[in-house]
Every structure is written in structure tokens, then in C-alpha cells.
Symmetry: C2
Subunit: 269 residues, 2 copies
């Protein structure tokens, strides 16, 4: 089953556009887990189990695992999601990007080793750098387009001849680059006008939208701009809703509230 088909099923099944981002910052883990060698896994697994019913997908951010020498915990976490929450897509947020032979190794890392259903990829190196990813026909490739950080526009907003660089990326991803229907786009919630513009260009492409919650993006404006077919990510607001041993229920409350806010905003569109 292709990533886009799994995603559609997950959107429908959970009636949710919320994606729970798994960015386990070691300095912010619950106090009672400190010192456990598997603290990251224990933390993320409890977050996953507490929030799964409100989420259409999970998005582990690999940097937090790599910095902590916790690749084995990331493998086990993703295996746990597949086992305990079958059908819930896992998007590995890795933002990789390299030439052919090396990209093929990164694809093995994401898809064979970690068994991710989709991965985030940086488009700066052009189409042939995407081809080794696209060879995995059942997986999703979500290209950085307009990112949520304040400097995201330094290059992405440059005019490249009647359109901005991020618009060009959206146009390529919706057209010639998307030969097998595997592509999606990362577009920050912090710039609703640009999100709306990407939606106009990209049609039905799934949009992965970070930036709500701790980064300050507004849910109402995001949903008005991006409509359906969004994977709206929240990480820190959910993960760190509490630092005591009730962090799981606290995360579930924030996830449910966010899911409902997205749903209500969609109903008003």
C-alpha cells in the first residue's frame, strides 16, 4: 500500500489532521525517567500510546536520537508504532539530501533500517538527488518547500523569474518530479499566506505543516489556508505538557484539544 493511501486511511480513521512530533530533548524529559538508559524510548512510547487515537501520523525527528547515541531506541520506537498502532504512518524527519549513490544509502537508512513510511528530504540538490528515494515506490517523500523558521525566506522567498523559489519547488513537486505520486511538501504554519499559495500550486499533494503550538502558528489561519490533506505537526506543546509522571495523560489532553481545534476549524471552512 502506498504512503498516500495509508495516509488517507489514517486521516479518515482518526478523523484527525494532527501529527505528533517526537523530538525528545534530553533536558526536558520527565524527571522520573532521568538516568534510565532507555529514557528516550520509554518517554516516546508513552507519548505515542497516549496520543495515537488523536493523531493521523507520528513524526520522529532523528537529530534528537542521533545526538544521544540512541539509534537503537529509534528503531525500537518505530517498530513499536507499527506493532501497537498498525496503519498509523511514521514520517522520519531527517531532511536528508545528497547525490545518487549516497542518497541510496540514506534511503536504506530511513526505509530499510528504520522502516519509516515517509521521510523529509531537502530539494536543494535537484531532481536526480531524489531518484534513489523515489525508487521505494510504497514510501512517501516530503520535500522541504517553505519552512517555518524566520530565516526560511532567505533563499526560499527569492524571486526566480516570476515566482518564488518555494513556489518553484511546489510546482516541480506537483508536476514533473512526482512521477509515481509519492511526493508531499513541508510548509510552515507560521506563514499562512504562503501556505495558501502552495496549496493553490500543489493541488491535492499532502502538506506536512509544522509550526503550530510552541512555534506560534495559528490553527484557524492554517486550516483556512491549507484545507484538508494536511499533516499538521505539533511537537513540544504535546511532549512537554507536563514534566511529572502524568506526562502521558497531559500529552493526550493537548493532543485531543489540538485535534478538535483542527477539526472545528475545518468544519467552519
Amino acid at each position: 500500500m502506498s504512503f498516500v493511501v495509508s495516509l488517507q486511511a489514517a486521516w479518515a480513521q482518526a478523523d484527525s489532521m494532527l501529527c505528533v512530533g517526537l523530538d525528545p530533548d534530553p533536558s526536558r524529559l520527565p524527571m522520573h525517567l532521568a538516568g534510565r538508559p532507555d529514557a528516550i524510548l520509554a518517554f516516546c512510547r508513552e507519548i505515542v500510546d497516549a496520543t495515537a487515537e488523536f493523531a493521523c501520523a507520528f513524526k520522529p525527528q532523528i537529530a534528537y536520537f542521533a545526538a544521544a547515541r540512541a539509534e537503537d531506541q529509534l528503531e525500537e520506537l518505530i517498530a513499536h508504532i507499527h506493532r501497537a498502532h498498525p496503519g498509523k504512518p511514521v514520517i522520519l524527519d531527517a531532511k536528508r539530501g545528497d547525490i545518487g549513490a549516497t542518497a541510496a544509502q540514506y534511503a536504506r537508512e530511513a526505509f530499510e533500517r528504520y522502516r519509516a513510511d515517509a521521510v523529509t528530504v531537502n530539494p536543494y540538490m535537484g531532481f536526480d538527488s531524489l531518484e534513489p528515494w523515489l525508487a521505494w515506490h510504497d514510501r512517501g517523500i516530503i520535500l522541504l518547500c517553505r519552512t517555518s523558521n524566520s530565516g526560511g525566506g532567505d533563499l526560499q522567498a527569492l524571486d526566480v523569474g516570476g515566482e518564488r523559489l518555494y513556489e518553484r519547488v511546489a510546482r516541480l513537486a506537483a508536476g514533473p518530479w512526482n512521477s509515481n505520486g509519492q511526493l508531499g511538501l513541508v510548509v510552515g504554519a507560521t506563514f499562512p499566506a504562503e501556505l495558501a499559495q502552495v496549496r493553490r500550486i500543489a493541488g491535492e499533494l499532502p502538506l506536512l505543516v509544522p509550526g503550530i503550538g510552541a512555534q506560534g502558528g495559528d490553527i484557524e489561519a492554517t486550516v483556512r489556508a491549507g484545507g484538508r490533506r494536511m499533516i499538521v505537526n505539533s511537537s513540544r506543546a504535546i511532549l512537554y505538557a507536563s514534566r511529572t509522571d502524568d506526562f502521558g495523560p497531559a500529552a493526550a489532553t493537548v493532543a485531543r484539544t489540538t485535534r478538535d481545534a483542527l477539526r472545528d476549524a475545518l468544519a467552519r471552512c
Copy 2:
């Protein structure tokens, strides 16, 4: 000591612009190492020891280690280079790029965990995505500018208002983005005219130049275009010079020949 100062010492000490790229493709390792759990480390360590006298730097490509679950071997390899060949800079080719909090984790991965002297970073997400890297004042940050692959121009060659996107990246890296003198640029040897143009814009910035050897870049044209202050990478032509147990001496021969060809070309400039 800063990365650029170490690099200058290494250029002078080895009288070489050659960087040996460590891309250990499991399907191309010497036959007699097959099946050893530490095959990647054993292979790379012998390549390093055989070629160190001809090289100004080593560049391990992290994808090959990550795909093979060999992060521990990468740690040990870099520790070996620092121990056995002190002063020889290690450039971790990771092409990372992410927003602030996450970039800080990637910087910990590269600089604290792997103890790399420099790292390759993707500029697509703009200046604030570089700041967590730049906080490590003694390390080098080498930004993708004009990459060596055929599709590198898809975005990089777009006209962004009187200059191309890669020229804009070079101008930013040589100016406002380089507050502490830590930046360098990746420019492929496969496009000598564009390499020359980046050199004009970037002045004295170190240029990491992949694409000679297996990728077909011409040494004479590369040196004419880029002059001194280049880190000219060759990976496959050196690593896979032989697949039998003489692979170390075979790699040394190719490394010496390449070093000499670079030196001769420079003398003719």
C-alpha cells in the same frame, strides 16, 4: 585552534589539496573483509593509514555508516584519525539542515559525538538554521553551493535577480553569514566555469570540491578554476583501487598520483 587555521597547517604540512572521501559501500569492500562485524572500520582505517601522508583532510560520508548500523565504527574511525594522524582535519559529510532547536542537536551529533572538525550543511533553510552550528567557534561549516550532480542546477542555477542561486549562497557565505570566519563552500569539480565564478565571489573561502576521479571532473580545469585553498575530494577512485588484500597500497598509489597531479596543476597556474 579554528578549523581554517588547522586546514591551512594541513595544506602546508602535506603539500596537498587532496581530501580522501570515506564512503564505504558494503558491496564494494575487499573480499577478505566480508563478514567481519567491523569490516567498515577495518577497511576505512587501512585506507586512512595508507593515504594520510598524501591528504590534507579526510571526509567520511555518514550515510554509509548509518545505513549499515555502524555509527560506533564511525566514532572509532574518527577517534583513530585524531589519534594516529593529529592535525589532519576530519570533515563529516552529513549535509544536515534544520531549524534552531533541531540544528543544535545535529551540531551535537557532528561535533560532540563524532568529534568532527567540520561538517557539510545545506543552506536551503536560511541563516537562522546555521546559527546553532556557528556557535561552535572552532569548527568549520561547509555550505552546499553548486553541487557536482547533473541535477544540481535544477534549483541552484535559477536566476534570483541578476545572479544565480548558488552565486547568492556564495555571496552570503563570503559576507554577512560568515561572522566568525568559519564558513566554506561545496562546489563540484564537474562545472569548472561555475567553480571559477564561486572563487571570484567567495575570495579566500575554503572550497570543498567533490567530483574528480569517479565522477569525471578534470584536475587541470579544476585547479585553474579554483586555485589554492581547495579541499579536492576523491572517494571511489581511491577506496576501490583494488578489491584484494593489497587495497591499502593500491589506494596509496592513487592518492599519491592524485596529490601530485593537483600539485603539478597548481605549479602551472
